[in-house]
């Protein structure tokens, strides 16, 4: 068993040496989380915008529910998807449990409320500013959705990146529905849990560093985009 200092050095060696096991895990993690973010965004951006623009009975309740779901514990999302996809569950026939697809579904459920709720806030604010002008131009409400989404694009990019951060960092949901199967459903977070408990600290630490770097990179990108947009577009 390596000491902690050794573990750190070995971890760096694994990263710099492009260790195939480590690379495979990182690649799968990215594949799952990016898929989840794309699907969730496709659904949640228009949904959030529509929620900002339409008044209907129960709208307040929907907004509260959505805001509450932003804090949905990953294990609960995982459990829900597990029950749906397990052999006895309503979607059991598709045999999706313990596949990357199941992990994507779980992450979509986890981050869709986040993206939708934050989008609603951004679009509502922008709509307040644009309302009279759009009305004056005769823009219909369905047409306002793409208009406002596009004009809020930079703040929404931050929203989407927040969703990505949540998806790539969570461990509970993908552990339950993915099963952490070596080479199939093992992603960075689940691998870290496993390797740590096995005492394989170099790999755990290496993955941890990659994950940390990734989160840092995403946040730096979000910050940069936001700043550039403010400077360029006013």
């Amino acid at each position: 068993m390596p000491t902690d200092a050794n573990a750190f050095q070995t971890a760096l060696a694994l990263i710099l040496g492009m260790d195939p096991v480590l690379l495979g895990i990182v690649a799968l993690s990215l594949q799952v989380s990016i898929s989840a973010v794309l699907i969730a965004s496709l659904l949640a951006l228009p949904l959030g915008a529509a929620l900002a623009l339409w008044c209907f009975p129960g709208r307040g309740a929907v907004i509260v529910a959505l805001n509450a779901l932003m804090g949905l514990p990953p294990v609960v999302a995982g459990l829900t998807v597990y029950l749906l996809l397990s052999r006895a569950g309503p979607l059991g026939q598709f045999g999706l449990l313990f596949t990357p697809t199941a992990m994507v579904i779980a992450q979509v459920i986890l981050i869709l409320p986040i993206i939708a709720a934050l989008t609603r806030q951004q679009i509502e604010e922008l709509h307040g500013e644009y309302r009279d002008q759009l009305h004056s131009l005769g823009v219909s409400r369905p047409r306002m959705i793409p208009t406002l989404l596009w004009d809020a694009r930079f703040s929404l990019l931050t929203v989407v990146l927040a969703g990505f951060g949540r998806a790539s960092a969570e461990v509970g949901a993908v552990m339950i529905v993915g099963g952490n199967i070596d080479g199939v459903t093992r992603v960075m977070t689940t691998a870290i849990v496993l390797e740590t408990s096995k005492g394989n600290l170099p790999l755990a630490l290496g993955l941890g560093l990659v994950l940390l770097g990734l989160v840092l990179l995403v946040n730096a990108a979000a910050h940069l985009v936001g700043e550039t947009a403010r400077r360029r577009l006013g």
Partner: protein, 242 residues
């Protein structure tokens, strides 16, 4: 382009009638019941001190606000309208894209949009700025872009809500010239201002509001030489502050 240069037509713009229109907010009356009729291809300047209800009147006329009582109606087919606001609301896109957007909304075929938008930019002296994000333009340029956008929708009635109140003299001139251009093309102008000199330069007729009440609706010549009411005289004398 050709129909932009069409000679002004003075007939045929649907008259607009305010019938016992009032606005109140949480029981507070903001606009007392008023009757008003705007017709022809006139330049109507709505005047009055701050808080008199000028903007409210304009928003009611343009349909951005529903009256609390009474009704605002067009005596015929609803005409094409546009509104220019005190602080121009521009999309977070380039100057050119702000114009092509308005054209897209009004159903202009995709192939014509850019060309027509460029013509409008040139007309309003903005040709060199077409790629610039609209919101980093100067105040005067932004207002001209808002006017260009209104121009493209070929309004029969143009509402302007204090369009020059935040601008420097050169930009004010540009806006006033544009307003006269619209009028020459056959557009009815309904504009609010608190600037007496501007009203003298632009008005055919004046609507004077004071404290949410309609005080006068008179031809400009009469208003400026011989106002019919005590409030009108006080306003001209600069004594009616609020």
């Amino acid at each position: 382009m050709n129909d932009m240069l069409r000679p002004a037509t003075t007939a045929g713009i649907t008259p607009q009638a305010f019938e016992g229109v009032s606005v109140s907010h949480r029981g507070q009356p903001l606009l007392q019941p008023l009757d008003l009729r705007l017709a022809g291809c006139r330049r109507t300047l709505v005047m009055g001190p701050n808080g008199a209800g000028k903007s409210l009147l304009l928003r009611l006329a343009h349909g951005l606000l529903a009256p609390s009582a009474g009704r605002v109606r067009w005596e015929g087919t609803t005409p094409r309208q546009a509104m220019v606001f005190q602080r121009p609301v521009l999309l977070r896109r380039s100057a050119l894209e702000n114009l092509t957007y308005a054209l897209a909304v009004t159903g202009t075929p995709r192939g014509e949009r850019r060309e027509r938008a460029r013509e409008a930019l040139t007309r309003f002296g903005l040709a060199a700025l077409e790629k610039r994000p609209a919101r980093v333009l100067s105040g005067g340029e932004q207002q001209r872009l808002a006017l260009a956008r209104a121009w493209l929708t070929r309004p029969e009635v143009l509402f302007l809500d204090e369009p020059t109140s935040a601008l420097d003299p050169a930009a004010i001139r540009a806006v006033e010239c544009a307003v006269l251009d619209f009028h020459r093309r056959g557009t009815r102008i309904v504009m609010t201002t608190h600037d007496l000199n501007q009203a003298r330069r632009l008005a055919d007729e004046v609507v004077l509001l004071y404290g949410g009440r309609l005080i006068e609706h008179t031809p400009a010549e009469r208003f400026f030489t011989d106002p019919q009411t005590a409030e009108g005289r006080a306003f001209l004398g600069g004594e009616l502050v609020w």
